[in-house]
């Protein structure tokens, strides 16, 4: 099993960190193989940000993503640009707070107001990336909930553990409601 995730949006949305946490959950806590990259093409100079994570039960022969299983888009620009990289029956996860025009294709669309949830339900806009991690964890099942929680706790200072775990669990529950 090889699973490819791309997190895309703009700088300052915490996507690189979210990618690292996802890779750490898989590699350190779930005992899988994982690679994580942050890649900037010439187009990235305008402030766009992209992180890719590959998770596999086997060793990873090539560390770059090519057929995306799940694409998270935090901006319309990222959605327009990357949705064609999704594999058939892949998942397009969009933050409906920022992405209004949903593209069509042979993929599933999951539209959730991630940033709004972070701000209104968790109480801090900046944890939108962690809310997204909760959603991804539930939607994909590619990493365990416990592994992601452990990875989050390894990344955040003691004083904000509760807030970040709340963000993660809120995202997890939102995705659970969608899939029920």
């Amino acid at each position: 099993m090889r699973y490819e995730v791309r997190l895309s949006g703009s700088g300052g949305q915490g996507l690189i960190l979210a990618g690292k946490i996802l890779a750490e959950a898989a590699a350190i806590y779930d005992g899988k193989n994982a690679t994580q990259s942050q890649s900037y093409g010439p187009e990235a100079r305008g402030g766009s940000s992209r992180s890719e994570v590959i998770i596999s039960d086997e060793e990873i022969d090539y560390p770059k993503a090519s057929r995306i299983d799940l694409l998270l888009c935090f901006t319309q620009e990222a959605c327009d640009k990357y949705h064609t990289d999704l594999k058939e029956s892949g998942i397009l996860l969009i933050d409906s707070s920022y992405v209004a025009n949903i593209p069509h294709g042979n993929f599933k669309v999951c539209s959730i107001a991630i940033t709004e949830i972070a701000e209104k339900e968790v109480g801090k806009l900046l944890v939108a990336n962690i809310v997204a991690l909760g959603i991804i964890t539930r939607l994909t099942g590619v990493v365990t909930k416990e592994a992601v929680e452990s990875a989050i706790l390894s990344r955040v200072p003691k004083g904000t553990e509760e807030l970040n775990l709340k963000a993660f669990n809120t995202g997890f529950q939102k995705a659970q409601q969608l899939t029920e």
Partner: protein, 246 residues
């Protein structure tokens, strides 16, 4: 189980051998007499025992200039080493150029980021004649790895991170997950009673910015501890007086 060196315990077991092979290869590629690159960032803080947690580490390599970078790219490397570029090419923005790569000897990948940033390179190497390589022989899974790498001084890393515009933005937005802020707190907590540490910061900050500006920024970071989720660092009163000096 206690590991020697202790920092090895914070690299996950699956990637430990690859990490050591990467560090050994970089050691072999680094000309100690005519420096053209140094290792900076988290991995150097880890190897100096300042960071004590397990994350997905990578290696940041800072080059002297573009020529040094190109020379490095073309240097002969171990036959079984595969290097994949994540970026299409060297990405150049205002004051930094970077290329993200992944290194592998055995299909376990370890990220190595190449960075070009002239003023930061000059800062980290301003005392180059006194820079000593970090040298140790590490054994893992019955293999020995010889590491001898010129790395940024950990206290200089604190200075660079304190004055970084990225840190300033993170402080303004109260980004509790900021990696730079975490490193600053980690080093300051360990060195808080060490006058030589504070003296080093105050004496060397001027290489990157005005010293009073540096003190102001550092004070702001340390004062934001609770807001950012860190315990307050108990700084000696004389150091605090210096920090607050206009």
């Amino acid at each position: 189980m206690l590991l020697n060196p202790h920092w090895l315990a914070y690299i996950d077991t699956r990637r430990r051998t690859t990490a050591l092979a990467v560090l050994q290869t970089l050691s072999q590629l680094q000309d100690k007499k005519s420096i053209s690159f140094i290792v900076i960032g988290a991995i150097s803080l880890l190897m100096k025992n300042y960071l004590r947690y397990m994350v997905y580490w990578d290696v940041d390599v800072l080059f002297k200039n573009k020529k040094a970078f190109e020379t490095f790219i073309n240097l002969p490397k171990p036959k079984h080493l595969r290097i994949v570029d994540y970026d299409d090419s060297l990405t150049i923005s205002e004051n930094i150029a970077s290329l993200h790569t992944a290194w592998s000897f055995d299909r376990i990948w370890f990220n190595v980021d190449y960075i070009l940033r002239k003023e930061i390179y000059e800062f980290y190497t301003h005392n180059a004649p006194r820079l000593q390589p970090h040298t140790e022989r590490v054994t893992s899974n019955d293999h020995s790895f010889d590491i001898s790498l010129l790395m940024a001084h950990p206290w200089d890393i604190v200075i660079e991170k304190v004055v970084s515009p990225r840190t300033e933005k993170d402080i303004e937005r109260t980004v509790d997950t900021s990696i730079d802020i975490r490193h600053i707190f980690a080093v300051c907590e360990i060195e808080k009673e060490n006058r030589a540490f504070w003296h080093h910061l105050f004496e060397n900050a001027h290489h990157l910015c005005d010293e009073s500006e540096f003190r102001k920024k550092l004070l702001r970071i340390l004062s934001s501890a609770v807001e950012l989720g860190y315990p307050v660092i108990e700084i000696p009163s004389d150091v605090m007086t210096q920090l607050k000096k206009p």
